[in-house]
């Protein structure tokens, strides 16, 4: 029995999707107030559709009731993309989790947005196929969410981000119409609406099916751990490998702060006295792997690597990767709270920018751990702090902004894979002019003339963030939920 009187919006949604698919009691809405960012705001209603038709119906009803619509997958985003900052309707897509088709012969799969990234990988393994994007959160993040933020992962270095692996999309547009963007084949005619949609963070529509491109597993793979005394040496080694014309599948760096936290918990095999380690992987035919490994090893040695360990078994490879993928979780045990940043610099600027990041963190009085996609120049400084300490949250946010400025000054970007969301929309004018942002607003208007889909995301205030009757978002920290 509902304790809260259903609003007309709730009533209409229940009629269209069924009572069990609609949540509106305050305690039921609590888990949906936040994602993995530091912003928090409650939706008015949550729906959990099972079909494209139900998503379309929900979008139509939202339009009729003039309420915002926010899509959500697992809520693993770090930028606040799935937070309903203006309230309204939160469309949770986790029940749409069917792998509709695997066409191994043509190397494609059609999945629903709620499919967990790793579940797709597992389903593909018996075919000897892979879906290349592998965000560190792949055990829980959804493919729909990956589309929303154009997710990357360690293997982006060789294979590219999500947009490079999406062939087609079924999308519910604001207003409830259903369109297909792209195709089952590459290079569909027309404006690349598929490419435009990927990474649009739910502001242009809700994806209800994704046709993804698959790749074949390689014949051989070699995972190596290069151990350095300093972050500088490790950074220089990254450039040296590229200079020698080898682009490994992955080049991940962990600094000393991270190693000292991760190793005791995960036993990945990282030396505790190392200044930094580089986790690298080369793949291909056996001959290619032998040759590329040799070049990588020589390049690392030339930059001062004191040891290079090679995983001899699948278990050893797993262990090395477990250290990288568990790093955030392990860091979470060392401080009441973490603030995980995402910025990009040209890889040749890594050493100087890392120095500046660490220097700034010291100035602010925070510990900062770094584990990141070094090959892509994609930094993830992770600031450890205590939100109970007076002023700490404000200071950590300020530090985050300064670190983003460092990335911009180095010719980089304010996000490589997490997205803009609410977290960085006010930084957008650091990298884009007024005219650039106006052009982006025009895209938004073409898809969503009323600006109701995921309002207050991506574009800074004044570029599509309509002011409604909801309270403006107030930055505050959730109880340890943002790492």
């Amino acid at each position: 029995m509902a304790r809260t009187q259903p609003s007309p919006l709730v009533h209409d949604l229940q009629a269209a999707l069924g009572i069990e698919a609609v949540l509106f009691e305050p305690e039921d809405l609590l888990p949906y107030e936040f994602d993995s960012s530091i912003d928090r705001s409650a939706p008015d209603v949550v729906v959990l559709p099972r079909t494209t038709e139900e998503v379309a119906a929900a979008a139509r009803i939202a339009e009729e009731h003039h309420v915002p619509v926010v899509p959500r997958g697992s809520g693993t985003g770090f930028a606040g993309g799935a937070v309903a900052v203006m309230g309204g309707l939160l469309v949770v897509l986790t029940r749409m989790n069917a792998i509709r088709e695997i066409d191994a012969a043509n190397r494609l799969a059609v999945v629903e947005p709620g499919v967990i990234n790793l579940d797709l990988q597992d389903a593909l393994s018996s075919f000897g196929l892979l879906y290349a994007p592998d965000p560190s959160s792949q055990r829980i993040c959804t493919i729909g969410g990956n589309v929303g933020t154009n997710s990357g992962g360690p293997h982006t270095l060789a294979h590219g981000s999500t947009v490079n692996h999406v062939l087609g999309l079924e999308v519910v547009l604001p207003g409830g119409s259903v369109v297909n963007l792209g195709s089952r084949q590459v290079d569909a005619p027309g404006i690349d609406l598929r490419g435009l949609f990927v990474g649009s963070e739910g502001t242009l529509g809700i994806v209800t099916a994704i046709t993804v491109r698959l790749i074949r597993e390689n014949e051989a793979i070699r995972t190596m751990l290069a151990i350095f005394s300093t972050v500088d040496e490790a950074s220089n080694a990254v450039s040296e490998v590229i200079r020698r014309r080898v682009v490994p599948m992955a080049m991940e760096m962990l600094d000393q702060e991270t190693i000292r936290v991760v190793e005791p918990r995960v036993n990945a095999g990282y030396p505790l006295d190392a200044g930094a380690v580089l986790l690298m992987e080369v793949e291909g035919l056996v001959e290619a792997v032998d040759q590329d490994s040799e070049i990588v090893i020589e390049a690392c040695k030339s930059q001062g690597a004191r040891d290079i360990r090679i995983a001899r078994t699948a278990e050893e490879r797993e262990a090395l990767w477990e250290g990288r993928k568990s790093a955030i979780g392990a860091l979470g045990h060392t401080a009441p709270a973490l603030y995980l940043l995402d910025g990009v610099v040209p890889r040749s600027r890594l050493p100087e920018v890392l120095h500046q990041v660490l220097g700034l963190s010291r100035e602010y009085g925070f510990k900062c751990a770094n584990m990141f996609h070094a090959g892509d120049g994609n930094l993830h400084p992770t600031v450890l702090f205590d939100p109970e300490e007076e002023g700490a949250t404000e200071r950590v946010l300020q530090l985050g902004g300064e670190i983003m400025k460092l990335c911009v000054d180095a010719g980089g970007s304010i996000t490589g894979e997490h997205g803009i969301g609410t977290e960085k929309r006010e930084y957008m004018d650091w990298i884009f002019s007024e005219a650039d942002l106006e052009a982006m607003s025009s895209v938004r208007l073409a898809f969503d003339p009323t600006g109701r889909f995921n309002p207050c995301k991506i574009l800074p205030t004044g570029h599509g963030c309509a002011q409604g009757h909801f309270e403006p978002i107030k930055r505050k920290l959730g109880p340890g939920i943002y790492v």
Binding site: N164, I191, V247, S348, A439, L445
Partner: protein
């Protein structure tokens, strides 16, 4: 300086169907006012579909291009941006054509960071010039669009064409990191950046990819690069039938060798390329020396099972394939996207038409230069669509493009909405898309 528009009478000769007013002397004087010395070009060199523009401009800077575009927009002139002029008849015939906007003088490398594997160039640079600059550092932009490296980077992006490497390697739409675009309102807007990973804001550069210059003029672009392979080796496999060619081609693709291209030729294409007059599979390996050698050994093992053999051929075959669509006398060119496993079957289906057909397996991309009428073309499109694919008219006569939608599948509603937002006066390539009121 030419005097193409020396008398008002000249203006009245141009087609003006549906246009609100004719171009007058004030319009042209306004344009002349923003052109620097040497920018103006003879319009007759910029003919398209038998129509010459009233004026042609080849701006020497991005800001000059933006200024010209602004004046043209204010004066309600129809502008056709163009670079290498290799894809002018992709899309519907223009409803108006007043000004040719030639980007080829914008041909500078703006920023090349070999250590970061990134480059930023102006859009009028040819792929040839770009590849030559990169080769000095042992790098390249791994794309092979038809008809060859004479295409400009802007044209390459606007048409989003890809070649035999597609599917084995990324396409331009995947490798682009960011772009600067001139809009009809005279603004220059940027998206993306110069770093290899970036999800800041909407990927406007992807929206302009394949948009045929209808939403803005791409003036600069940044790309992710790759190291040049140390060894490249090509092979021809003569097949007794297209069906057998398809089976063998898919088997090779499935083995994940160091393959950079697998292309099936029908007998007509084989004959044009001096590969005999039967169906042929061409394979290209590109990697280090030892990996290419190993790939060749595996290829020969695969073929033994089929009682077939591979003949080593020159790598220049791929340039010939790229230029197949631009041979003398070719009028109509089509491209179908079909599942990889259906490439040979679709080529077989094309045997009913008069003209060569070939298909790149990994991309599921079948090209043909048929001699067909609209009805046959539409029939072929139905076949492609039944396979879950599409068929695009890449090039064709004006009359054919008037009766056949060149694109077939695309979301007209969203396309129109974007056109309304980015080019509300339909200044850029008016009518090229479709259903856009002018």
């Amino acid at each position: 300086m030419t005097s193409t528009f020396s008398t008002p009478g000249d203006f009245e000769k141009k087609p003006t169907s549906g246009r609100e007013r004719d171009v007058d002397r004030d319009d042209l004087e306004d344009l002349l006012g923003v052109l620097s010395a040497g920018t103006e070009r003879p319009p007759e060199q910029y003919m398209c579909d038998g129509v010459s523009p009233i004026m042609a401009a080849r701006p020497s800077s991005v800001s000059e291009l933006a200024e010209i575009l602004l004046v043209a927009n204010q004066r309600n002139l129809a502008v056709m941006p163009q670079g290498g002029r290799t894809a002018l008849t992709l899309g519907r015939p223009l409803t108006h054509y007043d000004l040719a906007l030639d980007t080829t003088a914008l041909n500078r490398v703006l920023d090349y960071a070999p250590e970061d594997l990134t480059i930023t160039v102006e859009a009028g640079i040819t792929l040839k010039l770009l590849q030559e600059s990169l080769a000095e550092q042992g790098q390249y932009l791994p794309i092979d669009p038809p008809p060859g490296d004479q295409v400009t980077i802007g044209g390459l992006l606007a048409t989003a064409r890809s070649g035999a490497w597609r599917g084995h390697l990324p396409a331009a739409r995947d490798l682009i990191l960011g772009a600067t675009v001139a809009s009809p309102d005279g603004s220059l807007t940027r998206s993306g950046g110069r770093v290899v990973k970036n999800v800041s804001g909407y990927d406007m550069h992807r929206m302009h990819t394949g948009a045929l210059g209808t939403l803005g003029v791409i003036v600069e672009a940044s790309f992710k690069l790759s190291p040049l392979p140390a060894a490249v080796s090509s092979f021809a496999i003569v097949c007794s039938s297209l069906s057998r060619a398809g089976t063998v081609a898919c088997e090779i693709w499935d083995r994940n060798l160091a393959t950079r291209a697998i292309t099936i030729l029908d007998s007509k294409t084989s004959a044009i390329l001096d590969c005999g007059d039967v169906a042929t599979v061409l394979v290209e390996f590109a990697a280090s020396e030892s990996v290419v050698v190993r790939s060749e050994e595996t290829l020969r093992e695969i073929l033994r099972d089929y009682d077939m053999s591979a003949e080593h051929i020159g790598n220049d075959i791929w340039a010939q394939i790229r230029s197949l669509t631009h041979r003398d006398g070719i009028d109509t060119v089509i491209r179908a996207g079909v599942p990889a496993s259906e490439v040979s079957g679709f080529i077989d289906h094309m045997e009913i038409i008069d003209g060569p057909s070939w298909g790149h397996v990994a991309a599921g991309s079948v090209w043909s230069c048929p001699n067909v009428n609209a009805q046959t073309l539409l029939g072929l499109r139905v076949v492609a669509e039944r396979l879950g694919g599409f068929l695009q008219l890449e090039s064709g006569s004006k009359s054919l493009r008037e009766v056949v939608d060149p694109f077939g599948v695309s979301d007209a509603g969203l396309t129109d909405s974007l056109k309304s937002q980015f080019d509300p006066r339909s200044t850029l390539n008016p009518g090229k898309w479709k259903a856009v009121s002018t």
